[in-house]
Amino acid sequence: MFAGRERVPSQVWQCELTLERGKNYLIVADSGTGKSSLCSYVYGYRRDYSGTIGFDGHDIKTLSIAAWCELRKTSLAYLPQEMRLFPELTAYENVWLKNQLTHHKSRAEIEEIFGTLGISDKLHSPVSRLSIGQQQRVAIVRTLCQPADFYILDEPVSHLDAYNNSVVAQLFADEAGKQGASVIATSVGNHLALNYDVELKL
């Protein structure tokens, strides 16, 4: 990642860092400091780093594909910065695609969250017709549709106003609180309005 650079001023890179279940973390970063890379390493779809990342002390490079699939359904929830919704599916279908793997929420619960986020009328619209802010909210609903130990949110509210920001924060606070899980949010300026236990500078 930072090959060739002697020393990076960071509280994450080139440090030993432990993230504990139950605590909320905010990772503040400038653009291009490797925020999304950090997420992709922890979520297991990139391995081009040196050093060790461990879950409960086990090096994640040793995890099998099957183990990763299980983790992604039960333990790690990830909201990518680019959202990765399927534009040809409707908002609801996008969410259901995740929920049919985890069976975490009922149809009514999902519709309720859509309502809370003010996008009830977009439930059956193809994602391609939604504004970027609406898409971000759909992606948030999808992230909530699974049990997790850690919710890894990569700039979750970059396209949302202050009001929606607080609604989203409340949703994650509730969901994480119910499960004793952590929220790890990254931000380049627009922080998710949550009470953080630890704030790290990337």
Partner: protein, 399 residues
Amino acid sequence: MKNLLWKLLRKHISPAQLIGFSIANLVGLCIVILAVQFYNDVKPVFDDEESFIRKDYIVITRSVTGAGAMMGGSSEFDDAAIADIEAQPWCRKVGRFINSDFSIYATVGLGNSGRAMRSQFFFEAIPTDFIDVTDAQWSFDPARPEVPVIVSRDYLSLYNFGFAATQGLPRISEGQVGMIPLAFTFSGNGLNDVIPGRIVGFSSRLNTVIVPEDFLKWANARYGTGGARHPLRLIIEVNSPGDVKIEQYMADHHYDVAGDKNQAGKASYFLTIIVSIVVAVGIVISLLSFFVLMLSIYLLLQKNTQRLRDLLLLGYSPAQVSRSYIVMVLAINGVVLLLAVVLMLIMRAHYLPMLQALDVPAGSVLPAIVAGVVIMTAITVGNIIAIRCKVNALWLLEK
């Protein structure tokens, strides 16, 4: 909602490519299984399995030339010639044909029509150990006389296709022949006896009428003039009938080897070659179609790379993601296999009547279907492995 995955992944499937593959594979597969089926159906025409004469025998005569026939006597094998053959390394055993030395008439009753065929006849005999009929059928008991005979298969063909067909008489299968009432009238030395006979088998190699040796010796003594004669034909047990040295020896000594067995062997050989070529062509077409499908699938996976990656990120396993495409391949290949078998059966129905006219029993369809299933399974397994590998390769996003 169940087919959300398929709704996503069917994007970019090209029906034209899949139809192209299906047609190409259908043609290839059809050629292969039709060739296998045809081979199976036609092979019995060339294979005459004569259970009562083993394969490693050849029958030889002296070449009849105009001059030789005029001079007389030169078509016999004298003791020196026989001794010379016996001394050859490829020769295991020589048997002498004995000829009938008296007058024979054969009468064949033709069912209940009241008609009968009557013809002058002749018999030959070879030592019993050259004949594989081991049961009591192949013997003669003067106390309860009945003459078992083996006749040339040509005689039956002559009757069925030459005589019966034109005279409105029923055709006879080899199985039915044993039931035809046959009577022989032997005369000589002032005697005139009628003895019933029975055809116990047909031979393509022995172009004659063979009776048990003990009968002919008995009959020659009873009706014949008693003159000892040299044999006109020899039957030889050889190490390998295809040996070039045998051919060379026969040519050098102007001996003729009874030919039809060789002819049938050659025809059967060419049939095998031609069928092999056709099968090879079919397999090549199938292989090419396999690559068409491979390319089509690769293209599909390539175009859907982002979708597949995103599904993996959601927690779908590579197996779950591959399943849609594997089901698609299984469905296409299954339909192609089914169509190929149906087409093969339709085409077979067109040539089968021609074979039935030749009295050839239809072969089993099992080998052709097994061949089709094996080829299709190989293609399908190849497809599945390729899909799995390709999807697994998407697991890590390496920058």
